[in-house]
Amino acid sequence: MKHSNAPRIDVRHYVNNRALYIMLIPGLIYLILFRYVPLLGNVIAFQDYSVFRGLWDSNWVGLKHFVNLFTYQDFYQILRNSLLISLYDILFGFPAPIVFALLLNEVRHSGTKRTYQSILYLPHFLSWVVIGGIFTKQLLSPDYGLFNYIITLLGGEPKYFMIDPAWTKPIIVSAGMWRDTGWGTIIYLAAIAGIDPSLYESAFIDGAGRVRQIISITLPLILPVIITLLLLKVGRFLDFGFERVYVFLNGLNLESGDIFDTYIYRVGLLNGQFSYTTAIGIFKAVVGFSLLMVMNAISKKTTSNSLF
């Protein structure tokens, strides 16, 4: 109702807040230039794009690259790997920081808590190459890896984990969890810190124990944060990331570890098949967007929290 005289008020509104709008400009330019303009480049998915001829002179081929993609023998294997690795990551990797945040929140001595936090954050600052080295060699090498050392101590046979397709996905997902769980607790800890302490006090007076307090107060109150982060994660479902998978791949575990990102790197960047890999990128984006919409609708229905 306030906006019934819209035009006049709007102008004044912009004039009054001009400083804010001016500050907005660089961000807008950035978004348009680096997020929207490159979207136009997606047309090369419908061309036989040649870097020598450029966007205008390359031949148009319609849906050829999409047909090639869907009829490629390994397509379903790659799709399956991409979906499963992301799914495992959401099933195991997503709840882990919540659990850690709840546990850390129960640590009463603040010095101890800080120490735990710092130790948990540390792996986040390692590059994937280093983490790949730690996992594939220091921990899992059949020759000198720590895990195999323990297995031999216990009287077992050393196992070459990196060449066994059954282990590829667990290794990739757990390496990611090791790296990012601690880092992920930050937001939850902040959300927990924002909860009104009087709620806990009255719950305590009513006789609720620590576990009951977590279930009935902490979790419901940080649920909006959890849902938001979950939806953001689902939106990037097929964008699992190139590096974090690539460092674990070799000729033998490729069949269970090759995902779209690594496939795009090999075919697109190494073999110069730009059109084909753009088609894959579009496919990924469409899948990610649909998943986001579905999850958002489900969340709206069940928890009345949603992104939009």
């Binding site: 020759d143 070459y160 060449i163 000729g251 033998l252």
Partner: protein, 514 residues
Amino acid sequence: MKKLRLFMFLVFLVTSFALFAGGQEEASQMSSGEDGPIASFSLAYPTPSIYAQEHPNILEDQWLNELERRANVDITRMDIYPHTKRQEFYNLLFASGDLPDVFYILSAWQDLPPGILDEGVFQPLDEHLDADKYPNLMSTVPETAWKEVTHLDGHVYGVPRYLSTPVRRAVYIRKDLLDEAGLDVPVTREEFVEVLRAFKDMGVRYPYSGREYFAYENLFWGSFGAPPGAWVERDGQLVPTFIIPEFKEALTFYNMLWEDGLIDKEFLTNTGSEWRAKIHAGDVGMWTHNINSFAGWNSNVQSNVPEAELILVNSPVDENGQGGLWNYGRRNRHFSVNAQYDNVEGLMEFFDWSTTEEARMFYDFGIEGETYTINDNGTVEFTYPVNQSGQQELLWRAEFMPMIDNMAFNENLLPYQTGGDYVLEYFQTRADTDQFVHWFVPELRSVQENPDMHMFVGNVRSNLTLEAMSKIIYSVEPPDFHDEFVEEWLERGGEEVIAEANKYHREGQTFPFE
């Protein structure tokens, strides 16, 4: 007041951008000199040189500047890039459209965007290959090397840095371990296996080691007549070794090595540096690598195991005396020229100069009176640097700066290196006897367009192939899995690859490397 400040700020932003862009423009104009160099050009330059990669501004490097002065050329831009990332580098370079005048190309055309030779990006150089105008160049570069940079249209698209001997690798054996085992230098495959078994019994951790993608892992393939990625002739037809029965035999044999612990269990997941570290630590009894790297291996292994002694030997042969390591052909690297570049004569003059005796002295020994002196009897007084940085600097000057040269070995410098005489002797007398003859096949469209079909020289990069090989060797599948692989390979594009290769074979565009 506020408005004025904001306005000033915006003006500042805009002008600083303009200045920045303009500044670069100016710099490149300034360096294209006015005192008339014979050629002025920019270069795309993927290189293994650590010296160049770490240099803050290679255009101001003393050796490059000295080269420019002596050759009277002007290098206006040099995009240094690690050679291991060259595919990304080239693809991004071509996609950017900001192309230099000269491209330094490492592994023939397969690193470049598919179909590049048909796009008119490079200029044909045939009319410039004139022995009267460029006598040094034309008399130095072998005929075969030119053939290897000739496209199907019959034009020559590159100036090759060549190999005087096409075999660059040899088998390294720890002589001290061999003596300890009381065995002679092995010759046949059986004798090699005997040595590896003896190493294993002596407690050598990895009797033989290799690294991922079968890079530098050439030991036994030649003795089966099936080095991965080679083309061989069968009943007048060219076939890739991947699909011949001998390849299955070789895979079965490697599976035996793996099962018996004669080869490093992790040889297919070792990175280059892990592989090196194992050898340097003295844990490896045998490996294959470049003959040229002998001095480096020697000093690195000896720094950890003082009693270690290395020897170079030929690869194993089968019962008929057949075998051999990969034949690299005669082209090793080459320079291609941008179609827009208009001073090819000047560029060719530079290449011609770089093959002269005078240029060679500079590349190898540096500046007279500074880095070397000439004795009364005419010999060169030169000290080979002992420290890493000195060696890297020397390598940059003598091996990695732009030049046309023999990349097999450096006759001038080897005598100044520890063990250099031994290496030179090996190159001149024994390297050539250890070669597997396979066929040169031009770049195939069917391979470029199908990543599953890739047949990298020396490295196995096609996942289809790599997976099948790894599975059989690591006992995940029985050797008969090879039959399934062949069927799948043919079905997924192999038929077309073979058909295309044999089309060129019939047209006489292929030839055996010798």
